[in-house]
Symmetry: C2
Subunit: 420 residues, 2 copies
């Protein structure tokens, strides 16, 4: 009986565990710092009040409940002790025969970490709820004031970063202000909302072809989103941000610009790239440590051209499945095969019923692409119930132009609630 | 054109506003400190992971959007200036011709307010999410430890207060541990969970008949809930609570014992009862102030026997409707009629598919009562979409014994997320 410890319950960790479920030679412990597996590709929908937190998150524990050889523990890993083959956690030490590091990534502000309080990123449910609070509160504040310049400030939204997340956020704000909120406010014209998408490079969605990227820009502009390319953010504070020499006054800056892998301590030097990702060999093991693997957003695996695979769900899922197969095979005395990534293409949505998708040479835009996007996301969404309820929510939003989860929740739970 | 200001978007305030919607002689401003109307009777379902926050909360703004004569503002009322007929808010002063105070109630700890951090009450969505976090975390912590006495402590839950909310919470924890969680944990036997319901009086649910109260006690006991009556809590700290001379070690104490009305400042003395509720005359106006009314949980209106009406949704709804009618009639020059409460009976649920209901002499227990409870709550739940999704969630939970919203969300949104 070999002990396998998995750090992280994201796509990579969860798929490794699932693949080892029921394996009589493997005893698996999955450690995660939250109790839920999060379907990150739809996190922007929670931030934009389209879905509930629970629609895209399922307890890791119940996803793996049917496998008797898997234990799920809520906890933090403090360090790896490779000499003794142990991981040190905040609930004691655990020994392993195989260790899988799949601890994911988080946002980075390129050395300006003080910007985070003014420009939240989007990696966790808590952050999504906070973004929702900020965006909806800005509309409420605009409604309340009669000062025109203050109103303009409240109705200005800046999204930093022109990747898929930035495009999805900007498109959703544009759409929400034009359709969902327009009739709910009496004092402001929500349609006058200004959404600015700021990208440092020469075009948005650089991983897509130039044609699709241009199509996405036009679609965003139709939703009232201004796309600023070649624009570098030089400062963010509580009243707005500086882009080159320009100043944008706003209370809602959203950050979708940079990602770096989460760190983990060890009794040996872990080789990393500039995004803090762990360098892995052809079988995803760490250099010099054939029993320790890294997978998903925290791993740096070069594709055939030597470019690291992107931090997206399909990569993490395939790596998780691969590691489960590798360990199962090795337990039966079989040799390791190298990891090969099968590119399933990429997709991004722009507001309601528009998207772009690219599968090899096949490129789709508009409604067809959006339907493809919808089907793929529903298919992969973990757990039957969530899939059903998410479809119900989407159908409702689509037919009524409303958003179901427009809650402003307080950032902190106050122990002593004030009166009134 | 008369100006009507409503403080609070609960059942009383919302129904007053709705009743005045479209009235050409009335200009209505509703002020609330949250952006949502909350269906409080189902709040315990959010705390017990059965429903999402957004399932029982709808933006007040969208509920009233169709009425051009109503404005909704997110804000806090600081005081009432009756001499100038103005309310002072954190966004300026507003003048009124009629003022409706419907600012609701919150929990009270009878002078032991320091208990609140160890024993949260259940009045807001934030509190419900916090209770959910504490209850689910206790099971996670029990799973993680191998120390038996610590495990016992984590698997002990105390609910203080034997009214409908306390009974609903205790029943739901008992049921969740027996059915939903039992198969998800490998290290603990969730069925060994100890739930203690602590009531100061001689029986739980004192507003119901003795027979129904006894039936509820037996049903709770079948779910593993110990019912302690005539038991007074003397201390609560982070490691548990003292009940008389007994000590209960637990990390999850829930408070459902006392309620007091929210306060509001004014330039005159507001007469109040011992629960801080505002004394009102037969037309719900304040003594000596015929243009200022109080309604819902913050008002003290005596029934025919001189006993104040309870703080429940039907009272607040009827009072809201009454005030809209009164103001509409007065604007047409008609005299005021006194408020009459139509008692629609009362109900309480005990876990899945059991309830008690009392309508006059008609008393129901068990499944029939639960179906009645379900129908009434679905009927009154505001907004078509929520009703539909809530039914979907319930059907799913009912058929599968699972709970859809088992998320542990961090209490504070951390600006600087730690690694790992």
């Amino acid at each position: 009986m070999k002990k396998i410890i998995i750090i992280g319950g994201g796509f990579a960790g969860l798929n490794t565990a699932k693949g080892l479920g029921g394996n009589k030679d493997a005893e698996v412990i999955l450690i995660d710092k939250t109790n839920h597996h999060l379907f990150q590709p739809l996190l922007y929908q929670v931030a934009m009040a389209g879905l509930n937190p629970a629609d895209i998150a399922v307890p890791v524990r119940s996803l793996l409940a049917k496998h008797d050889n898997i234990k799920v523990v809520l906890g933090n890993v403090l360090s790896i002790n490779s000499d003794d083959k142990k991981v040190v956690t905040d609930f004691g030490e655990l020994s392993y025969d195989y260790l899988i590091i799949a601890c994911g990534a988080k946002h980075t502000y390129f050395g300006n970490e003080q910007w985070e309080q003014h420009a939240p990123g989007l990696k966790t449910l808590e952050q999504a709820t906070e973004i929702r609070r900020r965006v909806l509160s800005a509309f409420e504040n605009a409604e309340k004031t009669s000062d025109r310049s203050l109103q303009k400030k409240f109705l200005t939204f800046a999204v930093v970063g022109g990747g898929p997340t930035g495009v999805e956020l900007a498109g959703a704000i544009g759409e929400m202000s034009r359709y969902t909120l327009a009739k709910d406010f009496k004092n402001i014209d929500a349609k006058l909302t200004r959404v600015i998408l700021i990208e440092g490079g020469s075009r948005i969605l650089p991983s897509f072809s130039k044609k699709l990227s241009a199509w996405a820009t036009r679609s965003l502009e139709q939703l009232g989103v201004q796309v600023w390319t070649n624009s570098i953010v030089t400062n963010i504070d509580e009243n707005g941000l500086n882009v080159g020499n320009e100043r944008i006054e706003t209370t809602a800056v959203l950050w979708a610009a940079g990602v770096k892998a989460n760190s983990i301590d060890a009794d040996f030097t872990i080789e990393k790239d500039r995004m803090n990702r762990i360098a892995v060999t052809s079988d995803l093991s760490l250099i010099g440590h054939p029993d320790i693997f890294a997978a998903g957003d925290c791993a740096c695996f070069p594709d055939d051209e030597g470019k690291p695979l992107p931090g997206i769900a399909p990569v993490a899922m395939q790596q998780g499945n691969y590691l489960a197969d590798l360990i199962s095979a090795e337990l039966r005395g079989k040799p390791r095969k190298p990891f090969k990534y099968k590119d399933k293409g990429q997709m991004a949505t722009i507001g309601r019923s528009k998207a772009i998708t690219e599968f090899g040479i096949m490129r789709l835009t508009g409604f067809t692409a959006w339907v493809a996007w919808l089907l793929v996301h529903i298919y992969y969404l973990a757990g039957f119930k969530n899939r059903f309820l998410v479809v119900a929510q989407w159908a409702w939003s689509y037919l009524t132009f409303r958003r179901g989860s427009r809650l402003i929740l307080e950032k902190k739970w106050r122990f002593y609630n004030g009166d009134s």
